[in-house]
């Protein structure tokens, strides 16, 4: 569990890397954005271009629009996009987690209906887990979807759903049966059509000035019964299985990468010794995290569910994303910052509180690791 086996990116992955870079170069007019956070650039035109190249849902079977590529290849595409500061948030959740969820638990009809649009980069998904009274304690969700005729009647409020005001669908964790002694029973995942079902979506302004996350209110929203993903009541197992995909990717340690780029540019070719050391320190963390994340890609490729390994990558990666700007700013102390550095720094610092919250807080991840160590 603490040994991250060696995994080498195969030759196809490196060929693909060159193609992604070529593509990014041809898009240089809109790149880079000043930060490499995966949630801040919602750009349907860009996502559609990626879809056209076969870089969304690329590990999925051909019949659903996938390309049957390996997790290593997906790893390379995602890290190249993030490092370049590309706008990836529109398709990110669908590609990373909603699609794989549907692939694993969805009905044949659901797979045929939803997956091809995702792979084309045209259909976007949000996560509907959190609620006003449900954060870390996910099993406490109160939103209900009770049987009503041929469908389900949804009532309740989802909170913090990133891009729900821009995206098409949400996978919501709801109670299909009243709460009982077994907290994990009676939960289900349902698909919500955010544009057409009648849910009210309200963007919430964040401290960085962006309007990315939302409140979604359901008042007697009726959805057809074929919107349940997997078996009714199986929601807890499904939602926890999403998390290995959610936690180990390069977006968990590259959010501050643009600060590093601007930092290196700012020190130029003749850095002071302490500046070289700062760059080396950042590199040592980054290179190690990258190897750990690639190792997890290898485990996913072998069909494993590396939940604890993913938590380790996220724990170390999120701490590093917060440490990087701190190292860089002090190493440049005394010299006037370049405009590029100032921009990247401002963006990244303002986003940084979210790094150790979204996708499971640091405290929750440490709990996952502790459980893996046999302490709980």
């Amino acid at each position: 569990m603490l040994t991250f086996d060696r995994a080498e990116l195969p030759a196809e992955a490196e060929t693909l890397r060159a193609e992604v870079r070529e593509f990014l170069k041809s898009n240089s007019a809109r790149l880079p954005r000043p930060n490499s956070d995966f949630t801040t650039g919602h750009d349907p035109a860009f996502s559609a271009q990626l879809g056209a190249r076969g870089w969304i849902g690329m590990t999925w079977p051909l019949e659903y629009g996938g390309r049957g590529r390996s997790f290593f290849e997906r790893y390379v595409v995602t890290e190249e996009l993030l490092a370049a500061g590309a706008p990836v948030s529109a398709h990110w959740i669908a590609d990373r987690q909603s699609g794989p969820l549907l692939l694993r638990y969805g009905s044949e009809q659901q797979k045929a209906a939803y997956l091809p649009g995702i792979t084309r980069g045209e259909s976007y998904f949000s996560i509907g887990m959190s609620e006003p009274n449900t954060g870390s304690d996910l099993a406490s969700v109160r939103t209900t979807a009770y049987r009503m005729g041929d469908g389900y009647l949804v009532n309740g409020t989802k909170l913090w759903s990133t891009d729900a005001h821009r995206n098409h669908y949400m996978v919501a964790l709801v109670r299909t049966e009243p709460a009982s002694d077994n907290r994990h029973a009676g939960l289900s995942q349902v698909l919500i059509d955010l544009k057409n079902d009648g849910a009210q979506v309200r963007p919430i302004r964040n401290m960085a000035g962006g309007e990315d996350f939302n409140e979604i209110v359901f008042t007697d929203v009726l959805i057809p019964e074929d919107r349940v993903v997997g078996n009714p009541g199986n929601g807890w197992e499904q939602v926890t299985s999403e998390l290995s995909y959610e936690r180990s990717g390069p977006e968990r340690f590259l959010s501050a990468y643009r600060v590093f780029v601007e930092f290196i540019k700012a020190v130029g070719k003749n850095p002071l010794p302490h500046q070289s050391a700062a760059i080396g320190r950042i590199t040592a963390h980054l290179a190690t995290l990258r190897r750990m994340s690639i190792s997890v890609a290898g485990m996913l490729e072998e069909g494993k569910t590396p939940a604890v390994e993913a938590a380790l990558v996220k724990e170390l990666g999120n701490n590093f994303e917060k440490l990087l700007p701190e190292i860089a700013r002090l190493a440049l102390s005394g010299s006037p910052p370049s405009e590029g550095f100032r921009q990247a720094m401002t963006d990244t610092l303002l986003l940084s509180p979210s790094f150790t919250l979204r996708g499971g807080t640091r405290e929750i991840l440490r709990g996952v690791i502790a459980r893996g160590l046999g302490l709980r």
Partner: protein, 314 residues
């Protein structure tokens, strides 16, 4: 790791867990050379790891050093093997230090060595004299010095300073594993307020942090060993020494905190590992030394080229 490397590491594990214990470590700190272990090492050919014609390579040596670190082996196995590798001979016991002014310093068990090699910027020198002055590092490990004498130079295709650095990297990865294991065990056994302290969330979180730092350290060490003989070796070595050095501060602090006063006693074995970690992070370049070398390599690539360089490494 391939199968032979695994087998070699497994038999090292068996040998060291049979022979190294608290009493042996205490004796070594009192200045008694662990002769019995040294003879066992030679009898099993572990002094020949990485020596041409031995059927083993450098990677085998470094994997065994992780095991040596795990047990705090009180002998300079890396130095002994590398002397045999460079001199192509089966010396009784050789050791290595760095040339500083007119001396070779920080020679592990130099007082015991029949040959001492000094690493200088110009290359390796082989010393004749055996009148080593005894000294110790912060872990109480023998670190002796000798006057530089005959200065017979030794030809070698390796980067000696880098290989010795890698030895400390691997030793640290191993020792850190034991610090984690000891701390996990202690936390589950020690009871306060009517339950094992491992049931307190704050202790669980501290153990999670130690585990994460160890996992990163082990990955960094393994990557450096994997890069042996490639043009990325110095980069991966710098990454490893810098990353593990940083982990040591965190791991040692938390491990001692969790162990309470018991871990502060001489009687407890924890300090044999934590003190070695503190000592080894200084030897053959501390974090700043390797971060600076690494930074210089990255700066060469420029801000836009850095990613290409980083992503090309495995």
């Amino acid at each position: 790791m391939n199968d032979t490397t695994n087998l070699i590491a497994e038999s090292a594990e068996k040998m060291f867990s049979d022979l190294v214990n608290k009493a042996v470590l205490d004796k070594a700190e009192e200045g008694v050379f662990a002769d019995e272990i040294w003879r066992a090492i030679c009898a099993n050919g572990f002094d020949q790891l990485g020596v041409t014609g031995s059927g083993t390579g450098l990677a085998d040596l470094f994997h065994v050093l992780v095991v040596a670190g795990k047990h705090a082996l009180p002998l300079p196995l890396a130095e002994a093997c590398l002397v045999n590798r460079w001199l192509g001979s089966n010396e009784v016991f050789g050791s290595i230090g760095c040339v500083e002014a007119s001396q070779i310093v920080d020679v592990p068990w130099g007082r015991q060595a029949s040959v001492i090699i000094g690493i200088a910027p110009e290359g390796l020198v082989r010393n004749k004299g055996k009148n080593a002055r005894a000294g110790v590092n912060l872990a109480g490990e023998a670190r002796d010095s000798v006057e530089l004498d005959a200065q017979e130079s030794v030809a070698c295709i390796d980067d000696p300073f880098a290989l010795l650095t890698l030895s400390r990297v691997c030793l640290m990865a191993g020792a850190m594993q034991t610090v984690l294991d000891l701390t996990l065990r202690f936390a589950q056994e020690r009871e306060q307020f009517g339950r094992p302290i491992s049931k307190f969330q704050v202790i669980q979180h501290q153990l999670a942090v130690i585990a994460a730092e160890f996992a990163a350290s082990l990955k960094a060490a393994d990557a450096a060993v994997e890069a042996l003989g490639t043009d990325r070796f110095i980069t991966d070595l710098a990454i490893a020494k810098a990353r593990i050095g940083e982990a040591v501060g965190v791991v040692n602090e938390l491990a001692h905190q969790i162990h309470g006063a018991m871990g502060y006693t001489h009687e407890h074995q924890l300090h044999h590992f934590t003190r070695r970690l503190w000592a080894w992070r200084e030897e053959y370049g501390d974090e700043i030394y390797w971060q600076t070398r690494l930074g210089a390599i990255v700066v060469e690539q420029g801000g836009d080229g850095a990613w290409d360089y980083l992503a090309t490494s495995r």
